[in-house]
Amino acid sequence: MAKDKMLETTELCVKTALAKGAQEAGARGYRVRDIEVKWRDGKLEKIQEATTRGVGLQLYVDGRYASVSSSDLRPDALETFIADSVVMTRTLAKDPFRTLPDPALYKGQAAVDLKLDDPKYAVVTPDDRLRLVKEMEAAARDVKGAEAILSVTTTFNDSLSETFRVHSNGFSGSRRDTAFWVGAEVNVKDPDGRKPEDYSYAGSRFWAEIPAAAEQGRIAASRALSRLGSKKGDSAVLSMAIDNRAAGRMIGFLMGPLSGASLQQKRSFYEGKTGSTVGSPLLTITDDPLIPKGFGSRLFDGEGIAAKSMPVFDAGVLKSFYIDTYYGKKLKMAPTTGGASNLVIKLGAKSQPGILADMKDGILVTGFLGGNSNGTTGDFSLGVQGFRIRGGKIAEPISEMNISGNHLEFWKKLSAVGNDPYPYSTIRVPTLVFEGVQFAGN
């Protein structure tokens, strides 16, 4: 088989960087084909189709470092770009901690087929895409109460992504993955003048496994209709359940403080807590890069380091930080990996209805709105919407409320974990329940 042209370009980038004066260099080339079809209220809204490509380089020049990228791949332009970049790098301060990863860390890639690449990617036709977006709208408009629907927008998206990574100290890797996504967004008319909206998206690595499009239309419409009549509740300290689609946001807030950069820059509330209890015994999270067909799966990370499973929290105890080569050297810690792959949460035994029945009274959060989290102190404050839970059952919808807390206390109040991991994200989180959460409202 002929060598891929983008791989050739990527290799040439490394070679050119060395020829122009870099002692070490890494390069990443990519090519992404992406097609999107958007349908709204009975007609096409937008079609977009393109192949984008570019290269990025990490340059190590005379003890100095720069990272550069370009989409201008004309050979002369690229050569000039790299030569200029090397010259520019020499103007920076020396940084003894900058090197390519230890080549020993490239070794030991898992001998598994991650099944990220659908060989049948190209069989999808424009008619297929149209059929799916129409199916979603029809399903949305077929739910009970659909007369309140103002607008339905549905989307189909498919992509083929090819990347190549080459390092001057002996790494060469490539990756090819495909993804197919269907999604629906529905706005409904509330008699009070509000026009609440909700959505549902689902995706797969393989065309043959694309989740039922009609189901996304139904979920989006049902969820939007369930917002009708929502009201702000009273300020109170209550139990909080977070549904599996929303809960990823809470876990995402922990990723920054778990990074080597935050740790070294004194911006992590987890500093000095390795081996300490920072959550309830129910908090067990593993970073698992080797899940077949996973959206965050990989054989090597962004630095070429062979990917392996890593415990992050085990029964409430903090086990690992995300340490890349650079901050590992600064911190005198062994590199793990610079960024999360798939986050897998240890599941409980019950479904969401069972969990809500146990919770009896509180609020089920189905979505967050804005807010932020302070990675240095752990304080957070977030807008929420969802439902009041009364007698273990979903009661009236609530909106325009807010929760606040501190992660170092909050995760110790995790009191139940569902059996329903959200499959369409790199964060596979189930329904979670926390005790004693401060809600602000009226």
């Binding site: 709204r40 096409l44 937008k46 079609i47 977009q48 393109a50 984008t52 570019g54 990025g56 470092y65 720069a66 990272s67 550069v68 990228s69 370009s70 989409s71 201008d72 770009f81 970049s85 520019m88 790098t89 103007t91 920076l92 301060a93 020396k94 103002l150 996504w181 967004e185 706005n187 003048g193 026009k195 609440p196 909206e197 909700d198 959505y199 998206y201 995706g203 917002r227 300020s235 995402g252 920054g256 820059q265 911006r267 600064k330 709105l369 804005g370 807010g371 932020n372 302070n374 240095t376 102190t377 404050s381 977030l382 807008g383 409320m401 807010n402 606040s404 401060q438 602000a440 409202g441």
Partner: protein, 516 residues
């Protein structure tokens, strides 16, 4: 696709926010940017160096209309982004990103076809045009016979020295100077990070009417952040500035202000108390509090949501939405402002649009699709992140005009509430109208006086309801100098915002303390 996709979420983030942490930029491409413009022809001055010709553009526009679209445009972009980063006392990393590409759009009614390519050859451009053409299915329309350069563009961000001509070693002292002064600002400071960015390059828009416009859009920003330590506790905060300007923007006064603000905003956090939870009066300080307008009304007035009938403001034009002394505008004319543009990304003129005039909802923010839908002229709000995206209605600089009250009188009027001065981000639901913004710094107001500092609290309200509750507006309008970036439909756009001191009679504060 992101974990939280979809058009229901609009985000506004400050430059200091984590979203920019991974962006890559720096200093380079001198040779290309300064390459001789041999073969330059009328109107295609800058892009001629990449082999772009008048004929190529006309052929692409013809291909774009080959299936009967109403109109078409091409958007060429060359953007060079440079970042320099100081950490642990030295400027030890640089990032550069060069974007070169062209997008082709075909519009039929409200429908859009879009294709783009990084390959600036006639064949690739034609292929992108044919891709976009597929939105239509009728007989071909003729493309333009000739292209005319629009020479009427204003000059809102002239620069004496272009960023292409500034060497890294001219920029380095800015970063090291800020680092030294920040450490000198307080013995509590333990870490300082400075990131500097500049942006240069050009855009060229040509459309099927034969119009060509070309604009050079410089941008620069510095973000200064620090970590302080006191009695075993840590706090972090910072300050950032941004403008369409050159090096002269970084005056000693501005740099001193950055240091002063970053240090005081960080060290005051050690004294901050947890604000109460629940509804209370909130006074918003002049300047960055314009985030209220961006979220509470700005997005809801973007006409794409309104032509679809899904904005909470869709049926409110001509109606009273606020007190008569409330006037809200969105404009792109402020000299050197981050949100200013000489021309929008569809080639349309950019002026001042009144969202609210004397309390009455007046004008939506239009792109050319919505303007046609409503039978009105475009407002110059058609913007895009890059050649990889079709334009959509976006804000530029959104602010409230001065009102009849005084700041002191507003604060004195509040028995128990909070005063907000500094924000990190906000978000809105277009249809439900609920919006939030995150307060990083502020004060309690007790018996009409600013008392204890507060921190890290989200505020949540409903757009139309909160507009009605703005019951005092001061005369001290400030346009914030911060580097705000707005996200919509996955596209990031630079914006500005401002506001005088205002009072919101009642809004929900997401604190943890007991309500008075």
């Amino acid at each position: 696709m992101p974990d939280n996709p979809g058009m229901t979420r609009r985000r506004l983030v400050g430059l200091g926010a984590a979203t920019l942490a991974t962006a890559s930029l720096s200093d380079i491409l001198m040779s290309q940017a300064q390459a001789a413009t041999t073969g330059a022809i009328e109107g295609i001055g800058y892009f001629a160096r990449f082999g772009v010709t008048d004929q190529m553009i006309r052929q692409a526009l013809s291909a774009a209309l080959s299936k009967g679209g109403d109109r078409a445009d091409v958007f060429f972009q060359h953007r060079i982004n440079h970042y320099l980063v100081l950490e642990d006392g030295s400027v030890n990393r640089a990032f550069t990103n060069v974007e070169l590409g062209v997008g082709v759009r075909v519009v039929r009614g409200d429908q859009t076809g879009y294709g783009f390519t990084e390959d600036l050859t006639a064949a690739a451009l034609k292929q992108a045009a044919l891709t976009a053409a597929a939105i239509a299915d009728g007989p071909a329309r003729e493309g333009p016979k000739e292209l005319r350069l629009d020479r009427g563009l204003p000059s809102r961000y002239p620069v004496k020295v272009r960023w292409e001509d500034v060497r890294p070693n001219q920029k380095l002292p800015l970063l090291t100077g800020l680092n030294e002064k920040t450490f000198a600002g307080s013995p509590l400071i333990k870490k300082v990070n400075v990131s500097f960015s500049d942006q240069s390059g050009a855009i060229l828009i040509a459309d099927s009417s034969g119009r060509i416009v070309e604009d050079f859009q410089p941008m620069t920003s510095i973000s200064l952040s620090c970590v302080a330590e006191k009695d075993g506790k840590r706090e972090s905060n910072g300050y950032n500035v941004a403008a369409r300007a050159d090096m002269s923007y970084y005056s000693p006064e501005r740099l001193d202000r950055m240091v002063r603000e970053a240090v005081s905003r960080t060290t005051i956090l050690f004294d901050a108390v947890v604000p109460p939870a629940g509804e209370m009066p909130v006074v918003l300080g002049a300047g960055a509090s314009g985030i209220l307008l961006h979220e509470a009304i700005g997005h809801g007035m973007e006409a794409d949501f309104n032509r679809k009938g899904i904005s909470i403001f869709s049926d409110k034009i001509g109606k009273s939405v606020a007190k008569p002394f409330v006037n809200i505008v969105d404009e792109g004319e402020k000299p050197a402002a981050r949100g200013s543009i000489n021309v929008d990304d569809e080639g349309n003129a950019v002026g001042t649009t009144h969202l609210v005039k004397d309390g009455i909802l007046t004008t939506y923010l239009h792109d050319s699709i919505s303007a046609k839908h409503y039978g009105v002229g475009p407002t110059g709000n058609g913007r895009r992140e890059s050649y990889q995206y079709a334009p959509i209605p976006r804000m530029r600089a959104t602010y409230m005009l001065p009102g009849p009250h005084k700041k002191d009188e507003i604060i004195a009027s509040v028995k128990k509430g909070i005063f907000c001065t500094n924000f990190t981000n906000g978000q809105v639901q277009i249809g439900a109208g609920d919006f939030t913004f995150y307060v990083k710094n502020g004060y309690m107001i007790e018996d009409g006086k600013l008392t204890r500092p507060i921190k890290d609290v989200n505020i949540i309200g409903n757009g139309p309801k909160i507009l009605e509750k703005i019951d005092m507006v001061a005369d001290d309008l400030v346009i914030d100098e911060g580097g705000w970036t707005c996200g919509k439909d996955g596209q990031m756009c630079p914006v500005s915002q401002g506001i005088p001191t205002v009072r919101v009679a009642s809004i929900t504060v997401g604190g943890r303390g007991a309500k008075a």
